[in-house]
């Protein structure tokens, strides 16, 4: 990219001159034909673009590196360009044959990759590392950096847990290697570790809106390096089991002040609406339900044919919303000191009423070589985020779908209306969104300062102290209101102040030495870190008005206060040795030892070693002159990494305070201690290949890996009779519960398909495949249930069991429908007529099992449908995922199209259990009207199952039943609610135009780019819900692929401009 711009810029500057030259030469000179061979010392280069400067006359070298260019003025200049090489301009000076040796552009080959506690040249890497550059930021609408990784880095799977502004994503690197204990990778931002798992403290768990990574401004990022295999991650030891994401932010560059402004404005909208009942349909269904005795007759629905459409709540709740983002940065420096400063502001409105996210960022860094042997530096990043979630994200979609069309948003006088009863109805969400307060504001400070001293040639010592402070305030206020019959007079306000203080101090001694063909880099380090979090909560009610909401204005007699705090610490020692022989054989070995405060003294310390070997085959003599292969590296690695994400004090018994009415504070056992608790360890092996063909026109990186996680940390799955569920229970103990494995294959392919003067087309394909399997579980039942609570219904949705991948959907299987009386019986192999298995405690009757009810599979053949017939009914884990980016440039235009997709995964559309059940009191999906309609075969006959038939409705829907038992049975969790979640999505299209520099320089600027991005443009899928990419529920790895009313990701279109001064 840089090359390209450089080349073009140079070209345009000379445009005026060359046009003159051309005119002159056309008059003066004769034409000639030039030919020759282009090579790079190793051999000829095909596809080199050759252009007569100032003309459109161009060609490219063929496979032998030869070219012929005719009709060239004898005194013209020819430009040779090829990606990865320096562009050269050669005067013909009357020659007919010009052979040229292109010089490699070392900038790309010496590309530096950030690894733990240091950097390495990409060519020296022995481990598996993927890199995503800042280009991905400009080609998408990114509000939080983890969103960049999906489809752009092999082996990384990202899905947004919610489409709400500022919400978190689930990131998994090479499969899920932990069951419950924090499955998110850690982020190392300029050396500061941010652990999204640790930040989910026990008092704010399951808050999908709480995304610790969202404080970072994507515009400040230079590159993201994803460390994937243990060789790369082991240096982060105890916290690296889910992978490590290294984030490098922009640094100052030597030179004059470079000032850049970037800004865009965009529009967001909901990509899809679901079809729900309109007022007429709702009224008709309610009449049907009242005939069955399910509800009372509703007088307003006597003549439904006179009714209109009613309120479309999806329309009311989802609007077009604005997104805007502005960044200004300045950098520069002298020979000794460099600086960078940036200021950014992002404001994202929510497509749903009452939600938004805004962020203000201030960043700067300074580095100064104060002595020739002594360097100091400072990084500083301040963020201020504000998030509004007036309506609880979890209920937002449900409210939009369930609110009935007979409720009006506003009454005739413009005030908010509500339902005409306060029973079994949804409140007016629009009204609530307008009057209720629920927002939070965070100020985050991330800073580090370091000093590096050079003792002797190659021997340096660096000490770095970094801190990450967060100050958060959450505000809620429930005002008084009257919406229809719903009345609230009790005003309630709460304030929560929490702050976190994390610090890390590390000291690293580094030694590099080259002698002969040997090259050594040794590193030895020590690190101490401490995390502290505390909060203060207050609530009050009895306010006199809705206007000023500080706690001071409440009734002090109703005040309540609370406070918690948490601390943990980690002490570590580590070292790394890199050895290279003749730039052919590379060896990296690391070891780390960590001690964690989260385990009992005797289980506190863990060792995390790794080793990796790489062979640069292309540097061997037999490949050096190869015309096709210009780079071939084989990599092998093995290593161990840990996981320590358990609550503090899980190893000892603890007691929580419980309020009493008259007796002071009570204490209740709050956990079940497990003094044996220790590290979870993941052992992983990796074999990889890096291949460059045709002078890197084709670059392939492929890896296969095997990871085995031992001593999985999880809360032991226990039945409730152990006293572990609900209020006043002890939490089940944390245990090292078993082992699992992940194995997979991943591939990244970069190709330059077309490359010439005016047009280029490059492709980037990323493909990841992972297979997960649980190897052992030490609890007696050998399985872990994943439960979902909906109202008073708690259902096991997934099972994690030995021999299966984790989090498999688990439920009943529907094998048909009772269509006619004979379906209640079947013939077995011996010809005996047997009754079809009916649900437990149900008999053939209208209030029991009846025509139109589902037939469930009696998997254990015991003649009754009960919990023993539960079986695996789907897999939320994809067979493979992929991302394809195609980038085209034509003159000043630049366009990229990014597709991502997933294949072979199932999604549970969980709300269909209620929204498709015609018996429910809420508004419903229109598919609910497809219930099986029953009629008598002989109209004069009895209402006996032998005289009942299905006369209409959808062929796959059960009947509507007067009895709740039949409805509960038909709508039990079954494969009916499991859908194919495979999809292909046009995720991003970005178009940019760089204004000609001749024009730009006239107005005194260095560069102007205008651009437009479109995101989430179109999704091809069979999934019937809003969006098949659903992430995990409640941040739990046991609840993957469950869509329980997830806020859909918006479709976004932006227009922006980037100006360099």
């Amino acid at each position: 990219m840089t090359n390209f711009l450089f080349f073009k810029g140079g070209h345009i500057k000379q445009l005026g001159f060359t046009v003159l030259m051309f005119l002159f030469s056309a008059y003066m000179s004769s034409q000639t034909t030039v030919s020759g061979v282009v090579s790079d010392g190793k051999g000829p280069i095909p596809g080199v673009s050759i252009l007569v400067q100032g003309t459109k006359n161009s060609t490219a070298t063929d496979f032998d590196g030869t070219y012929t260019l005719s009709n060239v003025p004898e005194n013209a200049m020819i430009v040779f360009s090829f990606i990865g090489y320096k562009t050269q301009t050669v005067a013909i000076a009357g020659r007919k044959k010009i052979d040229l040796v292109l010089i490699e552009d070392l900038k790309t080959l010496d590309e530096v990759v950030v690894v733990g506690y240091g950097t390495m040249k990409r060519k020296d890497l022995t481990g598996s590392v993927s890199t995503v550059t800042s280009k991905a930021v400009t080609q998408s609408v990114t509000t939080s950096i983890e969103q960049l990784l999906q489809g752009r880095a092999a082996g990384v799977q990202v899905s947004a847990n919610s489409g709400a502004p500022g919400a978190s994503s689930s990131v998994s690197i090479r499969g899920i290697s932990s069951i419950n204990s924090g499955t998110q990778p850690i982020y190392v931002i300029d050396g500061v570790v941010i652990d999204p798992n640790a930040n989910s403290n026990p008092y704010v768990i399951n808050n999908i809106n709480n995304n610790p990574i969202s404080v970072i401004n994507p515009a400040d990022i230079v590159s993201i390096d994803i460390l994937k295999d243990a060789s790369a991650t082991a240096i982060y030891g105890s916290r690296a089991s889910n992978g490590v994401i290294m984030v490098t932010t922009k640094r100052g560059k030597k030179g004059d002040l470079a000032l850049t402004f970037d800004g865009y404005v965009g529009w967001q909208e909901i990509p899809k609406q679901l079809n729900v009942l309109n007022l007429q349909e709702y009224g008709n269904l309610k009449n049907t339900r009242s005939k069955l005795g399910i509800v009372e007759k509703d007088a307003t629905f006597i003549r439904t044919d006179l009714l209109g459409e009613g309120t479309d709540w999806q329309n009311e709740m989802f609007n077009q919303a604005l997104i805007q983002n502005y960044n200004l940065s300045a950098s520069g420096g002298s020979d000794k000191s460099t600086y960078f400063m940036g200021v950014g502001y992002m404001d994202q409105g929510g497509i749903a009423v009452g939600s938004s996210f805004s962020r203000f960022n201030l960043t700067s860094n300074l580095e100064s070589q104060v002595k020739d042997y002594f360097k100091v530096g400072l990084n500083f990043a301040l963020s201020n985020t504000k998030q509004v979630t007036t309506l609880n994200d979890g209920s937002l979609i449900l409210t939009a779908l369930r609110q009935t069309p007979n409720v009006a948003v506003r009454s005739a006088d413009g005030s908010f209306d509500g339902p005409d009863t306060d029973q079994f109805v949804q409140n007016n969400p629009i009204g609530l969104a307008f009057i209720r307060d629920n927002n939070n504001e965070g100020v985050g400070l991330r800073a580090n300062t370091y000093a590096e001293i050079k003792f002797a040639k190659g021997l340096t010592f660096k000490t770095l102290y970094s801190l990450d402070y967060g100050f958060n305030s959450a505000y809620t206020f429930d005002p008084s209101y009257t919406f229809g019959q719903i009345k609230n007079v009790n005003r309630l306000g709460t304030r929560t102040k929490s702050n976190s203080k994390n610090w890390i101090w590390n000291n690293v001694l580094n030694y590099t030495h080259d002698f002969g063909k040997h090259s050594i880099n040794a590193m030895l380090g020590q690190e101490a870190q401490e995390n502290h979090w505390e909060n203060l909560y207050g609530s009050i009610s009895g306010y006199l008005t809705n206007t000023s909401t500080d706690l001071a204005l409440g009734d002090q007699n109703t005040a309540a206060v609370n406070n918690h705090s948490l601390s943990s610490s980690l002490s570590s020692y580590f070292g790394r040795l890199f050895y290279s022989f003749d730039d052919k054989y590379l060896l990296t070995a690391t070891v780390r030892r960590d001690g964690s405060s989260k385990f009992a003294e005797e289980n506190r310390w863990g060792w995390f070693p790794s080793a990796a070997f790489a062979w640069k085959v292309s540097n061997e003599d037999f490949l050096k002159q190869n015309k096709v292969i210009n780079n071939l590296k084989l990599r092998m690695s093995w290593g161990a990494v840990g996981n320590q994400n358990v609550p503090n004090y899980a190893y000892t018994s603890t007691y929580n305070s419980v309020a009493t009415a008259n007796w002071g504070t009570g204490l209740l056992a709050s956990n079940t201690a497990n003094p044996e608790l220790t590290w979870e360890t993941t052992y992983s092996s990796n074999i990889g290949i890096d291949l460059g063909l045709f002078h890197n026109r084709i670059e392939l990186v492929a890896d296969v890996y095997y990871k085995k996680t031992d001593d999985l940390l999880n809360i032991l799955a226990l039945p409730n009779f152990v006293g572990i569920s609900g209020q006043g229970s002890t939490s089940a103990p944390w245990y090292n519960i078993g082992d699992l494995e992940n194995k997979g294959f991943e591939l990244a392919l970069n190709t330059i398909n077309i490359q010439n003067k005016e047009f280029s087309w490059t492709s980037n394909i990323v493909f990841s495949m992972n297979k997960n399997k649980v190897l052992s579980l030490n609890n007696e039942s050998g399985n872990y249930p994943g439960k979902v609570q909906q109202g008073s219904d708690e259902t096991v949705i997934t099972r994690t069991a030995v021999g299966q991948p984790i989090s498999q959907f688990y439920g009943y299987k529907v094998i048909g429908r009772f269509e006619k009386a004979t379906d209640f019986y079947y013939k077995d192999a011996a010809g005996n007529v047997l009754p079809t298995a009916l649900p437990k405690d149900m008999k053939i009757s209208e209030n029991g099992a009846w025509i139109g009810d589902y037939i469930f599979e009696d998997s254990n053949k015991d003649g009754v449908i009960d919990e023993k017939d539960l079986q695996y009914i789907g897999n939320p884990l994809p067979k493979f995922t992929f991302g394809i980016t195609n980038t085209f440039t034509y003159k000043g235009f630049d366009m990229s199209i990014f597709l991502d997709g997933s294949y072979g995964n199932d999604v549970v559309n969980y709300q269909r259990r209620w929204l498709e059940n015609p018996r429910e009191n809420t508004n419903l999906l229109d598919t609910a009207l497809g219930y099986a309609q029953l009629g008598l075969i002989d109209p004069n006959g009895p209402n006996d199952y032998r005289n009942v038939q299905i006369v209409g409705g959808d062929a796959n829907m059960p009947r509507i039943a007067a009895s709740s038992a039949a409805s509960t049975s038909n709508y039990r969790f079954s494969d009916r609610f499991v859908e194919d979640g495979s999809f292909v999505r046009i995720k991003n299209i970005s178009v940019a135009y760089n204004l000609p520099s001749s024009f730009v320089s006239k107005i005194g600027l260095a560069g102007v780019k205008v651009y437009s991005n479109m995101q989430n443009i179109m999704t091809f899928t069979k999934y019937s819900g809003y969006d098949p990419a659903v992430g995990t529920l409640n941040n739990s790895a046991l609840l993957s692929g469950i869509d329980n009313g997830r806020y859909p990701s918006p479709r976004i279109t932006t227009l922006g401009v980037n100006v360099k001064f």
Binding site: G293, V295, Q423, F424, I453, K487, N488, V489, N490, L509, L524, Q526, E530, T558, L566, S567, S568, S569, L570, S571, G595, S596, S597, N648, T652, T654, Y655, V658, A659, T660, A661, N662, W663, G664, G666, L667, L668, A669, P719, N720, F721, V722, G723, G726, Q727, G728, N779, E780, S781, P785, S792, D793, E794, N847, E867, N921, A962, S963, A965, T968
Partner: protein
């Protein structure tokens, strides 16, 4: 600064850090928001703190919905056609997936296991055994009560005295119903022996509470035999029930003069209250009494949108049960035109104003925060009665009646008539089972009791109870009008009956299904029970 100096300083720092030994002190972090085992169970104050939550939080999920959903819903005092925490029980259609059933099972076992934690914690302490027994008795009272519920509802259940054993292996068999009752009785007998004569703090248990509870437990188990239609109860247990009731009545408890006063916040822990759950005014979720939110007829009562009781109504069956002058109706149910001075005080009290075609819940409904600052959203601040003296009176009468068709025992009549007089009714001169059943139902209505009365009857007169439940006509909803002044129900012929789909009424209704997720995790739950091996000797000197 000289180059050599800086280098020396850094070299020193570098070496000292890299060479420092593993510093374990840095890794010893002490919590500030928790107490760890090492610092607890040392003194009597610790014991008090440990037993206090056994009066509220551990019962929360039980109290929230199941207390009345099962106790009053299943016995058809309550009719709530759209509240899925009541109608599955009233319609006899509950399954192992029914939410409140699952959470009540969990809650009762929380009571059991947290009591076990307290018992085991105190037993491990170094104080005198007298002191230990006093607080162990309190925890065993709780455990025994929970096991009485478990035995009454699920029959065969797992008896546990230490959750740690189940953590190691949760795949265990159940114990038979009679062993579970025996276990509960032994807990309660221990409590009766070692609890103090007077409550050390207002609202705490005394030995008389335990005797009162024992009278209930003995009555339950008296009818239990292999033949559910034996028609007779074990006289030894009937005698014990009577003795226990006598002991309980001899304690400091006295019945309140005015029935309605029992259900006012200011009368929490009144003289009649022998065991009540102690909810915390303005307390956070888990120590609040959320029942008002489910009962209140509309948000004009609670002052907030937590008022879900418009469709939670008295069944016709219970309304027919009230005698014309019974004051208890007004304190238990609110009908159209009823007036309550304590609700909406600022506007001069609350008069129920809707069609006279239905009747809602009053007991447990107390108003808004404007009426009493102790009330907040989803928190009525009312104690929940688990045992009050009136019940012990009725237990005495029932034990005295025993296997006879009727009794005119003077003491039994005195107790029953005390309650009847308080309710504004005439006295009885003889008592039949039907009289006692009626009195229990009305006196303790909406106190989560009536279903357990029916269960206990079903142990020896199962078919009679099946016929009784059938006679409640749960499947046909007959429209009525109700005259509040005279407690009179009239069928409204202008409106049609509507059907209600209910489950089969047979012998299976007396036991609840185990929660499905529990059976999945412990398949032995549905296997045959194994007898429990009692370790401690039975207390024999209780009634000497």
């Amino acid at each position: 600064m000289k180059k050599i100096h800086i280098k020396r300083i850094f070299l020193f720092v570098a070496l000292s850090f890299l060479g420092s030994s593993c510093n374990d002190e840095f890794l010893d972090v002490q919590p500030n928001d928790l107490i760890t085992k090492e610092n607890f169970y040392k003194t009597e104050d610790d014991f008090k703190a440990a037993t206090a939550p056994l009066y509220n939080k551990v019962w929360f999920d039980f109290n929230d919905k199941f207390y009345y959903g099962l106790g009053d819903g299943r016995s058809y005092n309550l009719y709530a056609p759209f509240s899925d925490y009541i109608y599955p029980f009233a319609d006899l259609t509950e399954t192992g997936l029914t939410g409140p059933l699952v959470s009540a099972w969990g809650s009762l076992y929380n009571v059991v296991q947290q009591s076990n934690n307290v018992i085991n914690g105190i037993e491990g302490s170094d104080v005198s055994s007298t002191l230990k027994n006093k607080y162990i008795a309190e925890a065993r009272f709780m455990r025994g009560t929970a096991y009485w519920y478990l035995a009454s509802l699920w029959g065969n259940v797992i008896i546990s005295t230490n959750p740690a054993d189940l953590v190691q292996n949760p795949i265990v068999n159940t114990n038979p119903t009679k062993d579970v009752y025996e276990f509960a009785i032994r807990d309660m007998e221990f409590a009766a022996k070692f609890l103090p004569e007077t409550a050390p703090q207002t609202g705490r248990l005394t030995k008389y509470s335990a005797f009162g509870m024992l009278s209930r437990l003995y009555l339950s188990v008296a009818g239990l035999s292999d033949n559910p239609n034996s028609g007779t109860r074990n006289q030894a247990f009937l005698d014990l029930a009577k003795k226990a009731a006598v002991k309980a009545i001899s304690g400091p408890y006295k019945i309140m003069d005015n029935y309605e006063d029992l259900f006012k916040i200011e009368n929490n822990n009144n003289t009649e209250s022998m065991f009540a759950l102690q909810w915390v005014p303005n307390g956070s979720y888990g120590v609040n009494n959320s029942q008002q939110a489910y009962f209140a007829l509309g948000s004009d009562i609670t002052g907030d949108d937590a008022a879900y009781g418009y469709w939670t109504r008295a069944s016709n069956d219970v309304l027919y049960e009230y005698e014309t002058k019974d004051k208890r109706r007004h304190a238990t149910w609110m009908a159209d035109d009823d007036y309550y001075a304590e609700i909406s005080k600022t506007t001069g009290g609350y008069t129920v104003n809707h069609a006279n075609t239905f009747v809602n819940v009053k007991k447990g409904v107390v108003g808004s925060t404007k009426d009493n600052a102790k009330i907040s959203k989803q928190n009525s601040a009312l104690n929940t009665y688990m045992l009050r003296l009136a019940e012990v009176y009725l237990n005495y009468a029932e034990a005295t009646l025993g296997n006879n068709a009727n009794t005119s025992d003077a003491i039994a009549l005195e107790y029953v008539n005390k309650l009847r007089l308080r309710a504004g009714l005439t006295v009885k001169t003889a008592l039949t089972y039907e009289d006692i059943r009626h009195e229990r139902r009305i006196e303790l209505c909406m106190e989560g009791q009536y279903w357990y009365d029916l269960v206990r009857r079903s142990y020896y007169k199962q078919q009679e109870v099946i016929n009784y439940v059938t006679g409640q006509s749960r499947g046909v909803i007959v429209p009525i009008t109700y005259a509040a002044a005279t407690n009179t129900v009239s069928v409204d012929p202008t409106r049609d009956n509507s059907p209600r789909a209910i489950g089969a009424i047979d012998t299976s209704i007396f036991l609840l299904p185990y929660p499905e997720s529990e059976v999945i995790q412990n398949p032995l739950l549905s296997a045959a029970p194994v007898p429990y091996n009692f370790k401690d000797p039975k207390i024999t000197d209780l009634f000497n």
